[in-house]
């Protein structure tokens, strides 16, 4: 049998662990209760001082000293809370105060730290305060994806040529997290990214092209046309789908011509995207092609073709009614479903 002595030893160890757990659990509770009360008091005071400094616009030495005297973590909480609700002059004043009390220098030091979590924290502070610091730009090449993503978020408020260029190169980032942040930041930058993105897409393939097409579709500038046409002939299905959507968003004659060719693509996803884009453009000249697509072997293509015909208007309705009488029962069924739709559901 297992020795009783061994059981005694194990029990003693367990008892010790349990005692440690009890002490930790309750001591942490006491510590939390004390620090949270203090934190609330200090953050409240910091927030009030900051609000006064920001709204008044003049520096009050006493208030600055009070802010400076706050613990770092309280400063961070107070500044970040207020920064979310500020822009323009208010944010500039906030940055000035942050600089004066040493918070920005501290964040910069964190950005240069060896540990990724500190670099992340530094980048978060500088991002939320919109500090135009080249140090954060260097973090776009950081080894940790969370830090790169945070630097990308910072970049959304710094739309300079070098920043945009660095951001575009990150569209090929292997980490989804960083890629998503870059796409999001480029979108927030607005139309200023159109020209560099159009140039970028001209020479790209693979992951970078796919991510770039998504941004381009939202920006929807005619300058993306040549790149969209080129990428619509890619071997990669996801890229062809992205290109079809972008062509639909651009909506010029060249885009329509290319989309009409894409409706014969080997891949159903591409055909569906092309049909959807033609509907989005309300390109009535594609009516006949879309009528043919109603007989597609894939349900999704038939649905998009039907909805596109409906979006085209009278000409499209003609093709839908013709399909009702046709010999293809799948096309007839889809045409019936589309014609039965109420107005609000179209498109």
């Amino acid at each position: 049998m297992v020795s009783v002595d061994l059981l005694h030893i194990v029990m003693l160890i367990e008892l010790g662990l349990l005692a440690v757990a009890v002490v930790l659990f309750f001591a942490h509770g006491v510590w939390l209760s004390l620090t949270q009360k203090r934190l609330l008091r200090l953050t409240g005071a910091g927030r009030d001082s900051l609000a006064r400094l920001v709204t008044r616009g003049t520096v009050n030495v006493e208030e600055m000293s009070a802010l400076r005297a706050l613990p770092r973590y309280v400063q961070v909480i107070a500044f970040l809370e207020i920064s979310r609700n500020l822009s323009g002059t208010g944010k500039e004043r906030l940055r000035f105060v942050a600089q004066e009390i040493g918070l920005i220098d501290r964040a910069r030091a964190l950005c240069a730290d060896r540990k990724w979590q500190r670099r992340l924290r530094g980048a978060r502070i500088l991002s939320q305060l919109d500090v135009a610091d080249p140090l954060v730009q260097t973090l776009l090449a950081d080894e940790h994806p969370a830090v790169r993503a945070q630097a990308a978020e910072w970049a959304s408020s710094q739309p300079s040529v070098p920043v945009i260029s660095a951001m575009l190169s990150l569209l090929a980032d292997p980490a989804t997290q960083a890629r998503f942040a870059v796409q999001n930041a480029l979108l927030r930058m607005g139309r200023v990214v159109a020209e560099p993105l159009a140039d970028f897409l001209q020479n790209q393939s693979g992951r970078a092209a796919e991510a770039g097409l998504r941004v381009a579709e939202s920006v929807a500038e005619p300058s993306f046309g040549p790149a969209a046409v080129r990428l619509s002939q890619s071997d990669d299905v996801a890229i062809r789908v992205g290109a079809a959507r972008l062509l639909g968003a651009i909506g010029d004659a060249r885009a329509a011509e290319r989309l009409m060719a894409m409706i014969h693509d080997d891949e159903a996803r591409v055909r569906a995207a092309a049909a959807q884009s033609l509907g989005r453009m309300q390109h009535w000249q594609a009516g006949s092609l879309l009528g043919d697509a109603l007989r597609d072997r894939t349900w999704r293509v038939r649905r998009e073709a039907g909805l596109a015909l409906r979006a085209i208007g009278a000409a499209g309705a003609l093709f839908l009614r013709r399909a009702l009488k046709g010999d293809d029962r799948f096309a007839a069924d889809m045409a019936q479903q589309v014609l039965d739709l109420p107005d609000a559901a179209a498109g």
Binding site: L120, R124, A181, S218, A345
Partner: protein, 477 residues
């Protein structure tokens, strides 16, 4: 005769002791590994989310569209509040689909009156066979709200109908009575944005009993004073913060709570949706998604988000709880049986070689082994081959280990999210942790054994869940 039996029992116990000891050591050793793993994972998670500006990043138009699938059956009393809470969730691209699963009360009429529903037609592809849809409605005041009225077919069938109508890239499956935190979806969607191979995510579900609820949101958390609800609070904390989080770091998650989970819509449709003929449809779907992704050449990650994202009401009567646990265990047995080809099969990577055997030998068979252990001990004591002192010490050792593990889980919660921060809550939590192994655990062994027995006999009924309802806020609150 007595001597012969006594000698036989003695021999059995002596031979079995090493097997039992080995099992005890292996299981508890593994629990310690999980505890360390969850500690590391929680630390990494907290570092990533501290000061995170989630609002800015996740209010993007690039965020995936989420369709919430909310099955409802005879929910006329609560549906309005639950639905308003869902519509107020903080997420940019959101669609809410309520599926009335043949409700016999006024669920659909209440929805129609309160949300200005109008009948609509839509084009949808029925990739999964379901019970017929009677009518489809859209709200004229909330454009993102769709209501499907269908014939009764059970939760799985309702979710399958919802899948057909959903337009989102992601679908969120939930129970009608789950309370989701306002920013719960923002937290849950994170893994999908951070990795391409994620097929599903689950989050920490907390017990709402004892807490104050206002307009479908938990406004004040409190540990319940009710015995069974209180014991389940520590049980849930241990299951999520220690079990699932620990497995998450090791890439071995195969469970997402049916109360709240987020899935890639296409992956679920490709897999054939939810199965009707199982009581463990949540786990079955997750394991099937995992299995199919291995078979299609990927690993299909199931991610777990430790943030407390949703709250659920747990049963407070032994009868209801027993039925629930019995059903859960039947579900586990059924799912493992259906996917038995994965057991120790290297084709399924860590899931086949490690996770599946864990669930089979530790989770599924634990009640059997515990029952055998208790039975042998009783026999040993009756025939005098085990002395009382030893039996007592062994029980205390097992009890101490279980309690220590639970206590460290409470510390994990306290160091991370500390939702139970009053002194009263701490005392109560610790009290429930201390008494959990004194009767309650043995009761769950009985319920799970019953579930296993019913599974062997082929029972697939759900049983009835009695709910008390949420505790409303007081006038002052």
């Amino acid at each position: 005769m007595n001597e012969m039996i006594s000698s036989l029992v003695s021999q059995l116990l002596v031979k079995g002791q090493y097997a039992v000891l080995l099992y005890f050591l292996a299981v508890n050793g593994w629990y310690l590994v999980l505890l360390v793993s969850s500690l590391l994972e929680l630390r990494r998670h907290m570092l990533l989310i501290t000061d995170e500006s989630r609002h800015l990043l996740l209010s993007s138009t690039l965020s995936p569209t989420i369709s919430i699938l909310a099955p409802a059956y005879n929910e006329e009393a609560t549906i309005e509040t639950s639905l308003r809470a869902l519509l107020a969730l903080q997420y940019p691209n959101l669609e809410v689909i309520v599926i009335s699963d043949g409700s016999k009360d006024r669920t659909v009429q209440v929805l129609s009156e309160k949300f200005d529903l109008v009948p609509v037609k839509t084009i949808y592809e029925q990739r999964i066979k379901t019970r017929p849809v009677r009518a489809l409605y859209r709200s004229s005041t909330y454009p993102s709200l769709v209501v499907v009225d269908k014939e009764n077919g059970g939760k799985a069938d309702a979710l399958n109908v919802g899948l057909s109508f959903a337009r989102g890239d992601l679908v969120c499956a939930m129970d009608a009575d789950t309370l989701i935190e306002a920013d719960g979806l923002q937290r849950m969607v994170r893994p999908f944005l951070y990795a391409t191979d994620v097929v599903a995510t689950g989050g920490t579900i907390r017990v709402v009993n004892g807490s104050e609820v206002k307009f479908g949101r938990v406004v004040k958390t409190a540990v319940p004073t009710d015995l069974l609800a209180g014991l389940q609070v520590v049980e849930y904390l241990r299951a999520f913060l220690f079990g699932r989080l620990g497995w998450n770091r090791l890439g071995g998650n195969i469970i997402i709570s049916g109360a709240f989970g987020l899935f890639q819509r296409d992956a679920v449709l490709d897999a054939g949706g939810y199965l009707h003929d199982t009581v463990g449809e949540d786990m079955e779907l997750v394991l099937r998604l995992k299995r199919l992704s291995y078979e299609n050449g990927g690993a299909g990650k199931i991610a777990f988000v430790p943030d407390p994202v949703a709250w659920t009401e747990v049963p407070e009567s032994a009868r209801s709880l027993g039925r629930q646990r019995d059903r859960w265990h039947r579900g586990l047995a059924d799912v493992l049986w259906r996917h038995r080809a994965m057991l120790l099969n290297p084709r399924y990577g860590i899931t086949g070689l490690f996770v599946y055997p864990y669930y089979a030998f530790v989770e599924l068979l634990a009640p059997v082994i515990e029952a055998v252990g208790i039975g042998s001990l009783a026999l040993g004591l009756i025939f005098g081959v085990v002395d009382w002192k030893f039996a007592g010490l062994f029980y205390l050792t097992a009890y101490g280990l279980g309690t220590a593990l639970t206590a460290f889980t409470l510390i994990l919660e306290d160091l991370s999210f500390h939702r139970y921060d009053s002194f009263r809550d701490r005392v109560l939590l610790f009290w429930w942790a201390l008494i959990e192994n004194l009767g309650y655990r043995q009761l769950t062994v009985y319920w799970r054994l019953r579930g296993l027995w019913k599974f062997i006999r082929g029972r697939k009924d759900w049983g009835v869940m009695e709910r008390k309802g949420f505790r409303p806020v007081t006038a002052a609150g």
